[in-house]
């Protein structure tokens, strides 16, 4: 499980003493961690511990909320997300995101997948077709939908819709894929498929996943970070965190004594 990509950078995403506030309420306290490239990093912790907030800061989605502010810095490949020369839109093209509840647009499967290309102004038919096929194959959805690409996305099952959202997120070939509890709204079989997919995708993308499911974290992540009350309690190899946690809170959480 602890395979690492030959060319991966161990400090691809640097979270550097990062704190975050929603208005008066501070959600993240001075988190400092390096997320390696081409690996799956799981963020676990009880509800409200700040794991989703941290995830959503990696592509500055939290900027869309009024009255937020931050301290510290986050760097991807050495470049600060908050550098004045950073265009948020191109940042989001580098850092794709899959949400907790599958949220396809009210468009066809085809149009959903190529949404990021459309907004980037690309309209060459052959390129779009190739992208759709590649993205759907990568999301293990191609065989199920190849005959109805132009049907509404709402005709798919929940698990298929979530895989469509993954295909949509990777269609623009981002470097990083953020997943915010991608299986929370899915049944066990669909969950299994998504987990298999995550293991496939990590060869191409750096994946950061938020999950409440301990088994999921152990099954598909290389590293695990345990957050508690907005602070990073423990961060290390998944096996180490689950088999030999250093902190009492971590042990308490993974053994189900509090959630």
């Amino acid at each position: 499980m602890m395979t690492s990509h030959p060319l991966s950078r161990p400090d691809f995403i640097q979270v550097d003493h990062f704190s975050f506030h929603y208005g008066e309420k501070q959600a993240i306290f001075d988190i400092d961690m390096n997320i390696p490239e081409h690996q799956v990093t799981a963020l676990i912790g009880p509800s409200g511990c700040g794991k989703s907030t941290l995830l959503r800061n990696l592509n500055r989605m939290n900027d869309l909320i009024d009255g937020v502010r931050h301290e510290g810095d986050i760097r991807i490949g050495g470049i600060s997300l908050y550098d004045p020369s950073v265009e948020v839109i191109s940042l989001r093209k580098r850092v794709g995101m899959v949400f907790q509840k599958y949220n396809p647009f009210a468009k066809s499967i085809y149009e959903n997948v190529i949404f990021s290309l459309r907004v980037a102004g690309r309209s060459k038919k052959s390129e779009l077709d190739a992208t759709v096929e590649w993205a759907l194959k990568s999301a293990a959805l191609w065989d199920e939908v190849k005959d109805r690409l132009h049907d509404s996305a709402f005709g798919l099952s929940g698990g298929q819709q979530q895989r469509l959202c993954i295909a949509r997120a990777i269609a623009n070939q981002p470097e990083i894929l953020l997943m915010d509890e991608p299986c929370a709204a899915l049944d066990p079989l669909a969950t299994l498929k998504i987990e298999e997919l995550i293991l496939e995708l990590k060869h191409q993308f750096t994946i950061v996943i938020v999950t409440h499911n301990m088994e999921q974290a152990t099954r598909c992540s290389d590293r695990t970070a345990f957050l508690y009350m907005g602070k990073l309690v423990e961060f290390g190899h998944t096996m180490q965190i689950f088999e030999n946690p250093k902190h009492a809170e971590t042990e308490g959480y993974i053994s189900g004594r509090f959630s």
Binding site: M61, R168, N172
Partner: protein
Amino acid sequence: MPDHLKSPDPKRFEVSRATLWFDRFMGGAIRFGGISVIIAVFGIFYFIGKEVVPLFKDAAVEKSGSVATSTQPAVLGVDEWGEMPFFYAGGEQVVFADLATGAKVEKALPGLAGLKVSALAYDAVHGRVALGLEDGRVGSFLVSYQRTFTPDGKSQVVPSLTEEPWFTLTHGAGPVTAVNYGDSGAGRVIVAKRGAGDGSSVSILRLGMKRSLVGKGKLSLLEEVDVSTQLAAEAVIVRASPNGAMVLVGCENGEVDYFIADSNGISKRQGFKPFDGVAPRQMDFLFGGVSLIMTAADGQQEQWSLFRNDEAGERLFGQTKAFSNLGEGPVIFTASQRNRTFLTGAGRDLSLRHSTSGSTRWEGTLDIDPAIAVLDAKGEHFIVAAADGEARRYEIHDPHPDAGLRAFFGKVWYEGGSKPIFQWQSTGGTDDFEPKLSLTPLIFGSLKGTAYALLFSVPIALLAAIFSAAFLPLEIKRVVKPVMEIMSSLPSVVLGFLAGLWLAPILEMRVPSVIAMIVLIPTSALLVGYSWCRLPITIRNRFENGREWLVVLPFLMLAGWIGWQLGPLLEQWFFVYTEPASGRRIADFRLWWPQVTGTSFEQRNSMVLGFMMGFAVIPVIFTIAEDAISNVPKSLTAAASALGANRWQVVWTVMLPVASAGIFSALMIGFGRAVGETMIMVMATGNTPVTEWNVFNGMRTLSANIAVELPEAPVGSTHYRTLFLGAVVLFAMTFVMNTLAEILRHRLRERNKIV
């Protein structure tokens, strides 16, 4: 365990009586409220229907009395109450028959003793019987009625006769074979035909009152002109108009010759041929004296009226209408003295026709062969008499002869007009004025008012809603929305007052400024936006998202100011009016516009209306559209943002499609507000029922029309009911629009629905 839980109360599962009663009471109250609303709505429909339906009813005619005399009537007349017809056959006696009692009174004409009457004509307007004698004299007597009361309080109609002077024809020879009399009060005209066949002649006599110091003055002959040589052929029918200004002679070859008789003398004005050369058998003036109804031997009936074919031309007769064929048989004709209705027929089949709308109000078959008929002055009865002196009275119930689908929605050829038109002109100055009740200009006005209001407010309201929902920071939005909602609660009478008395006079002087501003403000916004995008990201990042308007605002204000100041200059450059007479050049848009376009420029115009209606319509559209866009799920906008869409792309590709149904509702509610808006329309549009899209004149809308005219319309009159019909049309318009919109909205929602 506490004691009270050890032996549970057996009643703990029961529902308390108070709860049940309250539930029942509230259920009943809500049901009552709901049913009351439905009843109220149907009640309104019933009331409006009750007012409108009578407009579309035909006339009702029923027999209401009969009397038999032994007089073979050559002239039949009646008093204005339709109670006492008189019969006159040309002798010394006039027979009056009381229809109520059957009593007959004979009144003598002493002046006719020993004279032989050879021609007769009755002018119902003045109650005058014109007479022509075998010895070539012409004269007349008047029949008048007075209502008096007997000592026991019963009313009684008392007839009286007044003989008028005789005039001897100096031209022609033989007995008078046709005569007619016209009277304008001051001047009179008699037209008479003498003899028959080739030797016949037609003379026109002009009479005048010679004023004397004592008494009424004496009627005397001013001139007698023999017009035989000016006729196309032998005269068949002679007619003098009730006002004594025109004489018409129908000739055997089918031509009708029109003479004018005024203080300048008698001269022929026109010869025209109705029925393609078939001689008219009947020719009479309608009420008002400018239209002729003529019937040919084969039963064809046409109306010819006086009108000007072009601005400068003379008023000549031209055909304005054709009525349905009467069929063979002697023609009966009598015109109403109250409106453009006439009773006509051939044989036993009679019909009551209305000339303006060209409609047949009533048709029926009598049980006697009528030889002559007359309508009473109020148009409430007609009396027919057979050749044997048998007479019948019929009561007419026709309160709305001017009404009808054609009159309301079609083009109507009104008397005096040169072509059929749509016109609304419900009241006039004179008694013989004809109401023009076409709703078409009002429907047009409503559509025009709505179109200009929406043209101005829809783009602003929708763009504002998008901006507020998708771009503005929350704390500014929290101020903007309530302010817009307060704006929608401004009373429309205040807006109308401002529009009419404050805005209209300002805009009137500043049209070029307005044009410049309309061009400059959006252009500058686009330019600033474009330049902003060209700025380096490091500068753009200094402004928080949603605060960029701080950059645009000064430029917009500057553009507005420049536009305002530029107006007078533009006027000097482009909108220069040249006075046709002197060649003087004046820089004034108000004069320039009519000269260049040929349409009018009014102070209270569609532009003023558009601006002010904006204040009424923008908040409505804005509020609902803003809600619709704001309610687009965050998950979708977040997904689009995460995929690298910029704010505008998120709006365009995700938010607008999902919110389209709601935005559409907003537009429809804005449309409804604009169509139904009354006070602003009344006060800012000038209320002229024109049918042109010109932005610089006004309109009269259905709603404003109801507001303006309902207080003046007598209850139950055609006018009153027509205003209610306007309300029905208004309702139908909004109903149709809303139904279509609802269907469309439903489709939009289905297509963009989020599972």
